[in-house]
Symmetry: C2
Subunit: 527 residues, 2 copies
C-alpha cells in the first residue's frame, strides 16, 4: 500500500504515520484512492522545527517577494482548474459548475491576489509614527501558523489555499496546513502548486507545509507548542473549543470560526408586501450548497399571523419541491440527523423533510421545522442547536415583545438579517429588534440573505462568542483578517537605520498607509 507523503521542510517525504485514512465520495459512498497518512507527533514536530526556522527568514523577506509567491500560486491554481474541480467534486459532491469552477475557484485566486496586493503595500501593518517622541510601531508577523480548514469550502477556505492561509502568509508567517480530512486530495493538489510557487518565488524552506490528519492529542499539543505563533480553525464547535482551551492555557492566540445559526427576522410588513418573493429568496439561501454554509440561515423569526402562516407554508412547499443535495460526508449527514432528532424530540414540528435520503449518497430531505415563541423561550439554548445542512427552524413569535426576548436569548452569531417593508410600517419594530440583534451578530443585513460573504475590506466574517473566539476579528476582509496573525511591535528611540522599512522616514512602498503624527498618509515622514 502506497501512502501519500506529507510536505515538510520543502520536501514531499514519507509521513511518520500512526495509521492511514481514505477520502470517500459522498455521492457514491465509495472510498477514493489514494491512501493518506495520519501523522504522528514526529511529523508535527519536524514541521514546527522547519516553520520556526522559516519564521526568521520570512521576517527578512520583502512584501514584494511574498506577493510574487501569491500571484504565482494563483496562476498555478488557474492552470490546474480541471483536476482541482474534478477532485473536489469527487471528494465533496459539490457541483463542478457553477459552484466549484465558476464561483469558488475564482474567489480563491481572487483572495490570493488581493492578499498579494496587501503584502505589496504593507498597509496591514498600521505603521504609527510619533516623530516628536521618536516612538514608532507597526504590526509584524507572529510566527508559525496552524491552519485547520473546514469541510464546506474545499477551495476558498482550504487550509493551504483559502483565506486564512492567504492572510497568514501575506503577513510573513509560515503556514502549517492541516488538511480537512474530507478532501485530502484537493488539498494535496493545492499543496503541490503552492510548493512549486514557493520554490519559484524563492520563499524559505518550511514556509508552507502540509499534513493531512493527526490525533486530537497531537493537534492540541501543536497549537500549544512554544514554536507556534497562532492557530486558525474553522470547523465544528466541539473540536474547536477543545483546541481553544489548550491554546488559551498556553497563551497562544487562536482564531476560531465555529457554529452559527444566522437568525433571519422577517417583519410583518415585509411578509405582507412581498412574502412570495421572500419565500423564494429565503429557500434558495437555506438550500444553497445543501445548507452547508457557515452563514446558512438556520433560524428564522416571524410574528404570528395569517401572512406568516402562508409564508411558512410557501417555504415548506419550496423545501419539498427543491432537489435534495448531497451532503459533504457521512459525518455531516450523521450530525445533521442527530441535530434534527434533538430539535424534534424537544418539540419542534416538522413541516417538510426530516427523513434521510431523497438524493444521491449521503443526504437528508430538505427540512423545515417550526416552534412557537414561548416554547423557544423555555429552552433557547436547546433550540439554537445548529443543524448544519439543509435544515431550518422557524420560530413563530406571538408578538413583538416576545420577538425581542427571543432575540435577546440568542447566542453570538456570524450574521443576522432583518427584512422590513419599504413604506415605514415596520420601522418602529425594526429599530427595536435590529438594535437588539446588532449586538448578537458580526454582520447585520437588511433585505439580503447572509449566505454571500463578499471579500471586501468592510466585511466582517466573525462575531460574538461562540460564533468565534473574539468579537474584534474577522476571517474575511483585507486588511483586517490579516492582522489576526500579527504582533504589535514598538520601537522606542531605536536608531533610524535600524528601524524596519515600514517605519523608516521614507515610505518603502509608496502605497503604504501610515499614521504619522495623527494623520494617515501614503507619504514620507516630513523632514
Amino acid at each position: 500500500m502506497t501512502v501519500e507523503p506529507v510536505l515538510i521542510a520543502n520536501e514531499w517525504r514519507p509521513s511518520q504515520s500512526s495509521s492511514t485514512f481514505q477520502a470517500e465520495n459522498p455521492a457514491t459512498k465509495q472510498p477514493l484512492e489514494p491512501v493518506y497518512p495520519v501523522s504522528s507527533w514526529a511529523d508535527l514536530d519536524a514541521a514546527l522545527a522547519a516553520a520556526d526556522a522559516a519564521a526568521t527568514a520570512l521576517r527578512q523577506t520583502s512584501g514584494e517577494q511574498i506577493a510574487r509567491f501569491l500571484d504565482l500560486y494563483a496562476g498555478k491554481i488557474e492552470s490546474q482548474t480541471e483536476p482541482l474541480v474534478a477532485m473536489a467534486h469527487a471528494e465533496t459532491a459539490l457541483p463542478a459548475k457553477p459552484r466549484l469552477a465558476e464561483v469558488e475557484l475564482p474567489r480563491t485566486t481572487g483572495q490570493l491576489r488581493e492578499a498579494a496586493r496587501a503584502a505589496r503595500s504593507g498597509s496591514w501593518r498600521l505603521p504609527t509614527i510619533d516623530t516628536k517622541l521618536t516612538i514608532r510601531s507597526c504590526h509584524a508577523p507572529l510566527g508559525p501558523i496552524w491552519v485547520f480548514g473546514p469541510n464546506n469550502f474545499p477551495f476558498a477556505f482550504n487550509s493551504i489555499a483559502g483565506g486564512d492561509f492567504a492572510a497568514a502568509i501575506a503577513t510573513g508567517n509560515p503556514v502549517i496546513a492541516k488538511a480537512n480530512t474530507s478532501h485530502p486530495g484537493t488539498t494535496r493538489l493545492f499543496a503541490i502548486a503552492a510548493h512549486e510557487a514557493a520554490i519559484a518565488a524563492g520563499l524559505s524552506v518550511g514556509s508552507i507545509q502540509l499534513i493531512y490528519r493527526t490525533s486530537h492529542a497531537d493537534g492540541a499539543r501543536a497549537v500549544a507548542d512554544p514554536r507556534t505563533g497562532a492557530t486558525a480553525y474553522t470547523g465544528s464547535r466541539a473540536a474547536g473549543l477543545e483546541l481553544k482551551a489548550v491554546a488559551d492555557r498556553a497563551g497562544k492566540p487562536i482564531y476560531l470560526e465555529l457554529s452559527s445559526v444566522n437568525p433571519v427576522v422577517f417583519l410583518p410588513g415585509a411578509v405582507k408586501s412581498r412574502g412570495e418573493q421572500l419565500a423564494g429568496e429565503f429557500t434558495a439561501s437555506c438550500l444553497m450548497g445543501t445548507g452547508q454554509f457557515c452563514t446558512n440561515p438556520g433560524l428564522v423569526i416571524l410574528l404570528a399571523g395569517p401572512e406568516t402562516d402562508s409564508f411558512v407554508a410557501a417555504v415548506a412547499d419550496r423545501f419539498r419541491a427543491a432537489p435534495v443535495g448531497t451532503l459533504l460526508s457521512k459525518g455531516v449527514a450523521q450530525s445533521l440527523e442527530a441535530s434534527l432528532n434533538t430539535l424534534i424530540s424537544a418539540g419542534a414540528k416538522l413541516l417538510a423533510g426530516g427523513t434521510p435520503g431523497g438524493g444521491n449518497g449521503y443526504c437528508v430531505a430538505n427540512t423545515l421545522l417550526k416552534i412557537g415563541g414561548s416554547q423557544f423561550l423555555a429552552n433557547p439554548g436547546l433550540y439554537q442547536t445548529e443543524a448544519f445542512g439543509n435544515a431550518t427552524l422557524a420560530v413563530i413569535s406571538e408578538n413583538a415583545a416576545q420577538a425581542a426576548r427571543i432575540i435577546d436569548s440568542l447566542e453570538g452569531n456570524l450574521t443576522g438579517c432583518v427584512y422590513s417593508d419599504t413604506h415605514g410600517s415596520d420601522d418602529a419594530l425594526y429599530d427595536d429588534l435590529a438594535g437588539r440583534l446588532r449586538h448578537k451578530v458580526g454582520r447585520l443585513l437588511n433585505d439580503k440573505m447572509p449566505t454571500g460573504v463578499a471579500v471586501s475590506p468592510a466585511m466582517n466574517h466573525g462575531g460574538p462568542y461562540p460564533a468565534t473566539g473574539h468579537p474584534g476579528f474577522t476571517a474575511v476582509g483585507i486588511p483586517a483578517a490579516l492582522r489576526r496573525f500579527t504582533a504589535l511591535e514598538c520601537y522606542d528611540n531605536v536608531r533610524p537605520h535600524r528601524l524596519p522599512a515600514a517605519l523608516q522616514n521614507k515610505n518603502p512602498t509608496g502605497t503604504m498607509w501610515r499614521l504619522i503624527d495623527g494623520n494617515w498618509t501614503q507619504g514620507d515622514v516630513p523632514s
Copy 2:
C-alpha cells in the same frame, strides 16, 4: 463601625458585604481609616445589572457627550489634587512630590483628556466603507468592562481614573471598577469625582461604578458573567491567570498585563565607552519608584570581561549608596523577599542588598544579584522569576553565542533594551541580539531605559505572553488601547438612514479618519 458604601447604579449605597478590610500605611505599618467592604456577589450582580442597562444607553450616547464627561472629570481631579496626593501618599508611600503631584497626576488627567479627544473624533472606530458593495463596518462598544487596577500606579492606572478606565469609557462602555485593595481611599476620591462628572455630563445611570474588593470566586464569576463585555486586569501573574482561565472558558475577552522582567542588554562597546554614565542611568531606572514599575529592568545581560566587572561593581556601589524606598505594601515586601530567596537558593550571587529593612516601613535593601550565563541556561524559567521591587539580576554571558541563547530562552516581556556604542563596534552583535530580542518583547528600545511609558499613539505597552494575554494589543496609546474594548460590527446592505453616524456618508465629526474604498480620509463619502 461605619463601612464605606459602594457606588452602584448611580448611588453610594451600603455594600452587601461578606467582610471588611482597611488599607495600611506602608511607611508606618499602621492601618488607615476608614473601613471598606468586601462585596458579596449581590453587589457584583447589582452592578452588572446596572451596567447592562447603561451599555444600551451608552451606545446611543454621542462621543461628544462622553468627551464632556472625561474633560469634566479631569478638571475635577485637578481641583482635588491636594486630597488625592495626600491620600495616595498615605496609602502607597509613593513620594507626594514630584511623583504623585507632578508626574502621575498630570499624566492621569492628560490621559483622560486625550481619551476625550479620541471620543470626540471617533477615529478609534476604524470605520471602513465599501461603497461599491454597500458594506460598511466599524468598531463599537463591547458592553460592561471590569477594570482591576494594579497597586503601583494609584493614579495613572487606577481602576476608575487610569488608562484602562479611560479607554473603556471613551469607547462607550460602562465600567465597573474593582479598586486595588492597597489604595481604596484614593480610588474612592476618584470615584466621587467621576460620579459627579458623570451626573453633570448626563451619562446614564450605571455607566461608572465602584466596588472595593470581592472574593476570588466572585471575581471569577464576574468576568465570566453573560452581561460582561470584557475585563482589563493589571497585577500579579498568578491572580491574572486565574481570571484568564475563567474568562477564556466563557469566551469573554480579557486583557492582562502580568509579569515582566524587561531585559536590558549592554553590549561591550557601550560598557567600554560610557560604562560610568550607564551605571548611573541603569541604577536610576532600577530603583525608580522602589523598582515597582511594570517596566522595571529586572534582568540585565552583559558579556563577561573586565569592563563588565567594573560596570557591575559600579552598579552594586550605587545600589548600596542609594536610599532605600518604601514598598507599596506588606504583600509586595513578602513577595519580593520570596522571589529573592528563590533566586538566591538557586545560586544567584548577592552583590548588594538582599536583606529586609534599610528604610521606612516595608522595605528591602536595594538588591543586585549576579549569575553566570551557563547557570542561567540550566534553568531559564527559574531565573526569570520576577522580583517585583528594587531588585535586579545581572546575567554574565561568557560570549556572544551564549548571550543569543539566553535571549532565546526568555519569556515574553513588555520591553527589551539594547545599549550599543556609537562607533560601530557593537553593530554586528546588535543585529543578532536585537533581532532575537525583538520577538520576545512588545517595545524594543535603544540607548534608553524602559521605565518611561510615554502616552503616544505609537506606544506599545504590551507584549508576548506571559507579559500579556495577546501580543496584538497595547494598554497604553490611543487609539490602539481603546480598540481592546470593542467589537467589529458590519452593516451589509443596511438602509443608509439606519447606519450609525460613523458609517453614514457625511463624516459626523469632521475629524474622524475613515477608510473609504481603500483610502483614509477625514472627508465625506463622495456622492
